[in-house]
Symmetry: C2
Subunit: 223 residues, 2 copies
DNA sequence: TAAACGAATATTGTATACAATCTACAAATC
DNA sequence: GATTTGTAGATTGTATACAATATTCGTTTA
């Protein structure tokens, strides 16, 4: 959508985007080691821009780099995921309270459309992106760019775990309803109720995901 | 204090630490361009580890990198500084409310000592570090490592502007009193009052700094 | 047999060399 | 004179080559 159309993007940037996508889509699951030489030859580049891409992804929380030992796709512990949801809770209720009075009719139309897109049967692979854009459109009028960037990072890191859960549980249908409810209350300008709904929305998503992860955890550690 | 004593630290890491210090201490003020070749020869290394250090510092918010144009020490706008203080306000009141019931006598002793150290007449160059450690000791029992890391980043970015103001205004004396008051209320376990004090502490620091910056701004833009 | 050692291999970290891009300034054009 | 164009120099981006560190696995030894 944005991003300069006619800019000579550097190899490092392109590689960072590519790897980020692979991680977000689950092609590279948490824990996967990343061999520089191997990946560099696969991409037809040298290791230098690849290393810079990895450093970028490390800063974004997707990759862990250990000196002389290499990079791996960063795993998140259940405790860390819980903490990320708590951060969301505090930051998003704050930023929504700022944004709510400034939402325009145009914003509401965009939000309607995003919900419709999420309804499409083939939207699953874009689930994370659509979900974030819904929240982003809602928060952007708050005019807190640093906070918004932080929130995107948090969402991305959560989403690569949420993806597993959303694709096979009833969580997806629930997310629709909660987004619709939230949007309706924002339209009415009902601040208190909207904030309360958002809080419950985040909390329920967290509970559902963490239950799921705990279940998988006991499964995989029991074999 | 922490940090592995016997680890072979990589050049990139050492350079990142060095540059971070120079930026935090004001040796490299905001806007300073960083010429890779020049700095690399000064440090006696090649540009490769220097570039990785710069990427790290960019992620931490201290440096801005523009493709094919180079790195500069990142300036913060007044709006961004205000936003950072607002983030502090929300995150720190939350994390203190978690930490407060878990503060031990040992923690209180450490906090007493940190205030004493700040009193020392030669503590000015370490002001930022001491100020952060006070808050860190207070928040660590909350056991929210990701939030704490975020807060350190925010503090560091604020402090390199605050340094100017603290060194020449009466803000330093006020910070002492506020830290002492805050500590006293934490000792008594007076949650509501402690949170209120913390909120006012952050807000007043913000107001004082921003006034100062606005004054300098009108001065420098008027010539 | 199991633990400890060590050489061979694999992998990452960094220096050097070259390619791509930007910047500054002078000449050309209107 | 103002704007554009073009070229030389400066600066960054990337490939290649080598150095330093880690890992593997066979061998030795208790």
């Amino acid at each position: 959508m944005d991003g300069p159309v006619l800019s000579k993007r550097t190899m490092a940037e392109q590689v960072a985007d590519l790897l980020r996508q692979r991680i977000l889509l689950g092609v590279l699951p948490a824990g996967t080691p990343i061999r520089q030489e191997h990946l560099a030859t696969e991409l037809g580049i040298s290791r230098i821009p690849l290393r810079e891409a990895l450093k970028q992804l490390e800063a974004e929380g997707f990759v862990t780099i250990a000196s002389h030992k290499g990079a791996t796709v960063a795993p998140l512990s259940v405790a860390e995921i819980e903490e990320l949801f708590q951060l969301r809770l505090h930051l998003e209720t704050w930023i929504l309270s700022l944004a709510l009075p400034r939402l325009t009719e145009g914003d509401f139309a965009t939000l309607d459309q995003l919900i419709a897109e999420q309804r499409a049967p083939d939207s699953l692979p874009r689930w994370g992106e659509l979900n974030w854009r819904f929240h982003e459109v809602m928060y952007r009028p708050a005019d807190r760019p640093l906070t918004l960037k932080m929130l995107k990072r948090i969402h991305d890191n959560i989403d690569r775990y949420l993806r597993l859960e959303v694709s096979l549980s009833a969580g997806r249908a629930r997310a629709f309803r909660e987004h619709e409810d939230l949007l309706a209350h924002c339209r009415k300008g009902d601040v208190a109720e909207a904030l309360d709904l958002l809080e419950r929305h985040i909390q329920q998503t967290a509970d559902s995901l963490i239950d799921h992860l705990r279940a998988r955890e006991t499964l995989t550690t029991a074999d």
